[in-house]
């Protein structure tokens, strides 16, 4: 059987380009499209999320579904399905109560998340292992990655950008979630405790606000805005999650039909190399077993391994040799 056309399309001129191979100490030159030759376990091969993140994702996803179901039915009270959904939650008053409880759990989860990432970062800084590139902090590279990726989708670039642990999409989504959680929490609190929220605004803002008191002044305006933003932000979150997040994670080519990362906290090797190439290089540096495996793959597929001390021409690899090479 001949080489698959998509592999053949990677012509010599592409391979000759500087960034086709990435040299890793002790492994060799890693070609950009090596993900087409590796073996992947659907449950995930490489570590990505800690157990805390998995728990947090589970809590946030569950509470979000409850919040969306009760909140949508309460907000769109006059549409035909609203009474059925509300009946499912035991009436309007109970649904409002459940909405609040779910909101509290979600806010607590957010606090849990902040504690986790802060503690983790501090730990890494103390060990001198902290690398901002492996965090969610946005960098200018993300913008170039987006442009590069669009070019790839349009067929101009031969490969997808080499991305860090979190790609531009993930960083965007993460920032959106932070913003959304803050807006929804503040607006929700304003709706839940109108008296307190009306009072905490300093008198100055009230006086600065030029609008005459016919519309109720600043507290009333804030309440109006809170009503708008709570609903708008929630609908936006729901649509983005339903049509973007789910599609990106489980449906787009390469990810279909399902990813188990949200439960196992591990990512498949193929996915890691394709979308988080630089993170895979980090993995190679950190995990000896992965180095051995990659060397084996390179050798089996007759990629250039001259950088190694001994290159075996045999198809199969003895584990003893692999171990030596790893050293």
């Amino acid at each position: 059987m001949s080489i698959a056309p998509d592999t053949a399309a990677v012509g010599e001129e592409v391979k000759a380009k500087d960034d086709y191979f990435t040299f890793v100490e002790g492994v060799g030159n890693i070609p950009r499209d090596i993900y087409k030759y590796v073996k992947s376990d659907p449950a995930g091969d490489l570590p990505r999320y800690s157990v805390h993140i998995v728990i947090q994702h589970f809590l946030v996803a569950t509470t979000f579904l409850v919040l969306a179901a009760t909140g949508l039915a309460l907000h769109f009270a006059d549409v035909f399905w609203a009474p059925y959904v509300i009946a499912l939650f035991g009436g309007a008053d109970t649904a409002r109560f459940i909405h609040r409880i779910a909101a509290y759990i979600m806010i607590l989860t957010s606090v849990y998340h902040l504690v986790t990432i802060t503690a983790g970062s501090v730990q890494k800084i103390l060990k001198n292992e902290f690398d901002y590139k492996r965090t969610q902090i946005p960098t200018p590279k993300d913008l170039f990655d987006l442009i590069h990726d669009v070019k790839y989708f349009l067929g101009i670039e031969p490969f997808r950008p080499k991305m860090e642990k979190f790609s531009y999409k993930q960083k965007l989504h993460y920032l959106a979630i932070i913003w959304g959680t803050i807006v929804l929490s503040v607006a929700g609190m304003a709706l839940l405790f109108p008296g307190i929220v009306a009072k905490i605004f300093p008198e100055v803002i009230f006086k600065l606000h030029s609008q005459p008191a016919t519309n109720g002044g600043f507290p009333a305006l804030f309440q109006d805005l809170a009503r708008l933003m709570h609903a708008d932000e929630a609908v936006m979150a729901l649509i983005v999650l339903a049509f973007w997040h789910l599609a990106n994670v489980h449906i787009v080519p390469g990810r279909f039909p399902f990813q188990w990362t949200f439960l196992t906290g591990r990512i498949t090797r193929e996915h890691q190399i394709e979308e988080h190439f630089l993170e895979y290089i980090n993995n190679l540096k950190e995990i000896p077993e992965e180095r051995d495996y990659m060397k084996q793959v390179l050798r089996e597929n007759e990629f250039e391994t001259s950088i190694l001390r001994e290159s075996t021409e045999e198809g199969s690899v003895e584990e003893s040799t692999a171990e030596k090479e790893g050293d």
Partner: protein, 367 residues
């Protein structure tokens, strides 16, 4: 020995159960309202098809259902105490209407005075709903009288629910006089436990009967906010909760009337519960933490441009943000799906998918 004991206990159980059945049967016989029909009006009015077709071709049914009437609050009041104009039987065609301010022959237990709805009618007469001297003919015609809201089937007893007795006591005092009733009430259970005997949904429906009619409201020179009152209420969290069946969310009466229920005034009236100075007290019925800031929050929120321009433009920009975000993100996703066709499904089919755990290297190896 055991068997005779069993037999004995069976006998006792049998006797007790027969006794219980008898007691229950006695209890379940509803008290027959003899007093209500001492003039024997039901002799004719018990017939279900008693009626006539009037000059305009309208069908009128004069049937009085005894089973319904005996369960209403008026069950102990004889027909002629309200229908006073009937002097003889068979009676002449009825021209007059009943007057709810009549004195009944029912005496209140402590004051021993004849009962009347006069006190509440006095409150109603001062409210915004009573015909006033400066009213146009249309306005006078449009204003609701007693029977407009209090339809006869509504005179049924309400279910008991325990709330603070001061609340319901103030309702008693709408009609009863204070002396005696107060002491008596504390030692009694009573049925007027809620502010209104109707559910919030029924109250909203009742008020909306007229106030939703924007054309009528325009003709009656109601203010712009008044015209959209029902619509804006339904956009508020109170309205949405009530539509979905909430029992605790505020309905129209909760805010617009005190416990006298009929004292609905225009919002500029000093006596009105929604007048600026009274708002705090009104809101604090439910919202414990009310303050001068809280009462400024819009209960009838409007996003109309000319009423609330800031909110209108905020709404508009939020909509833009929503659709902009959604369409750009979904657009990017679709572009990705299109762009990855080249290494998408075909790639998976040709090389096997990571799902099956197959290595994807075989083809190249064979070469």
């Amino acid at each position: 020995m055991d068997r005779s004991r069993d037999l004995n206990s069976l006998k006792i159980i049998g006797t007790i159960s027969i006794f219980l059945v008898l007691v229950l049967a006695l209890l379940s016989i509803s008290s027959y309202a003899e007093a209500a029909d001492k003039d024997n009006c039901l002799m004719c009015h018990k017939y279900q098809f008693l009626g006539r077709i009037d000059e305009n071709g309208k069908r009128i049914n004069y049937h009085v259902s005894e089973s319904i009437y005996n369960h209403t609050v008026h069950r102990n009041i004889s027909c002629r105490e309200c229908h006073t104009y009937i002097k003889k039987i068979p009676h002449d065609p009825v021209e007059e209407e009943v007057n709810c301010a009549n004195l009944c022959h029912i005496k209140t237990p402590f004051s021993q005075e004849r009962f009347s709805h006069e006190r509440i009618i006095e409150i109603y007469k001062q409210s915004a709903h009573a015909p006033g001297p400066g009213d146009s003919a249309l306005l006078e015609k449009s204003k609701p009288n007693c029977k407009f809201c209090h339809l006869n089937p509504m005179y049924t007893r309400v279910s008991e629910e325990r709330i603070d007795y001061h609340e319901s006591l103030s309702r008693c005092l709408n009609c009863h006089q204070e002396k005696g009733v107060t002491q008596a009430y504390i030692h009694m259970t009573h049925r007027l436990r809620k502010k209104t005997s109707r559910s919030p949904q029924e109250i909203v429906e009742l008020c909306a009967k007229c106030h939703q009619d924007v054309e009528l409201m325009k003709k009656l020179n109601v203010s712009k906010r008044g015209q959209t009152a029902v619509e804006t209420y339904k956009q508020s969290i109170h309205g949405k909760s009530v539509i979905l069946g909430s029992e605790v969310a505020a309905d129209c009466i909760s805010c617009h009337a005190s416990n006298a229920l009929h004292d609905i005034y225009k919002k500029d009236d000093r006596r009105s519960t929604v007048e600026k100075k009274n708002l705090r007290k009104t809101c604090s019925q439910c919202h414990a933490r009310t303050n001068s800031w809280f009462v400024q929050v819009a209960v009838h929120p409007s996003t109309e441009r000319d009423e609330n321009p800031i909110v209108f433009f905020a709404n508009l920009s939020l909509k833009f943000a929503l659709y902009g975000t959604v369409f750009s993100l979904v657009g990017l996703m679709l572009l990705e799906t299109f762009g990855r066709k080249k290494d998408g499904i075909k790639f998976l089919l040709r090389n096997g998918t990571s799902w099956r755990g197959k290595p994807k290297q075989k083809e190249k190896k064979k070469k």
